[in-house]
Subunit: 154 residues, 2 copies
DNA sequence: ACTTATGTAACACGCGCTGTAACAAATAGA
DNA sequence: TCTATTTGTTACAGCGCGTGTTACATAAGT
């Protein structure tokens, strides 16, 4: 899968952080700085998140992006499905297999079924993590990182 | 993920079928016909399957490919890991995020962890299906297909 | 030797992702 | 109402990577 999902999660982390800690919306340029890319890349993904009712955007001075819901109610599965372009995680045949062969004629349907179930298992795991969890964990890691630096200095 | 995994499963289905039903090894040209591609593509994947001890190959007249184990003992997870080129299913950041931002500095590690767990869930689902299951299911679908054709004719 | 079949390297083509530029649209403030 | 700010959208360039193909080496049987 393309990195759109990763970037979307990163963005939601930033938006939530700005909103909670500073009470102000995040702009696509700020996010592009953190993600190290172009603001247009950010806005493309923003469109998907807005369609899925995960964020609200406002143009003009003082504008930017806010969460449309509480961070505890947004799971990574929501994010995944918001940016998903129905491209299957595991690719099927590049060319249609021979229909005159018993294996070739029926394997596509079977694999579609199996892969679907496997992806569902993956999504269920993503559904267990919320944006609130993400921010909590980032804070933990940041604190631990600070602690490590302190120990190195001592 | 690339289609290597799909093709590998297709190949094992063919090898198992040839071996069980006809008692003879499958050649990469026969498999290429069923998969609708070039024999070299088949042999590339064959190399991975051989390294993982899933198949045995023999060159020359009467040569070809056989299963190295009983089809009941080969799961799709084995196949997946055999052809896996440690390319993560869900891509991380295209460019390294800003390390001066609290989110950017720690999100990669966190996502690597979450994605790893999600992929593990997917693999566990693949581990529940064997090559024997595959062949059984293909036979079922083939039989059902024949039945349908019969009804259409009547 | 000759035929058959795998093993491997090298290369061309094409698709899709990423980044970028350009411009339209909306919103707040002077 | 004019300007600055910020999102929304389109179009296009670059490029990496997967796939297909050719060519040739290696092995095994007759």
């Amino acid at each position: 899968m393309n990195s759109r999902f990763t970037l979307a999660v990163h963005m939601l982390g930033l938006i939530s952080y700005h909103q909670t800690q500073r009470g102000e919306p995040a702009t696509s340029e700020q996010m592009a700085d953190s993600i190290n890319t172009n603001p247009v890349v950010v806005r493309r993904i923003l469109g998907d998140l807005r369609e899925a009712n995960l964020v609200e955007t406002r143009r003009g001075v003082g504008g930017g992006v806010r969460l449309a819901r509480k961070p505890e109610t947004i799971t990574l599965r929501h994010v995944y499905e918001a940016v998903d372009q129905d491209c299957e995680l595991i690719a099927l045949h590049p060319n249609p297999p021979s229909q005159s062969c018993m294996v070739g004629a029926h394997i596509e349907g079977f694999l579609r079924e199996v892969f679907g179930e496997a992806e569902e298992a993956l999504k269920q795991r993503l559904a267990a993590v919320t944006v609130a969890d993400l921010n909590l964990e980032l804070a933990r890691r940041s604190a631990r990182c600070m602690q490590d630096v302190g120990q190195q200095m001592a």
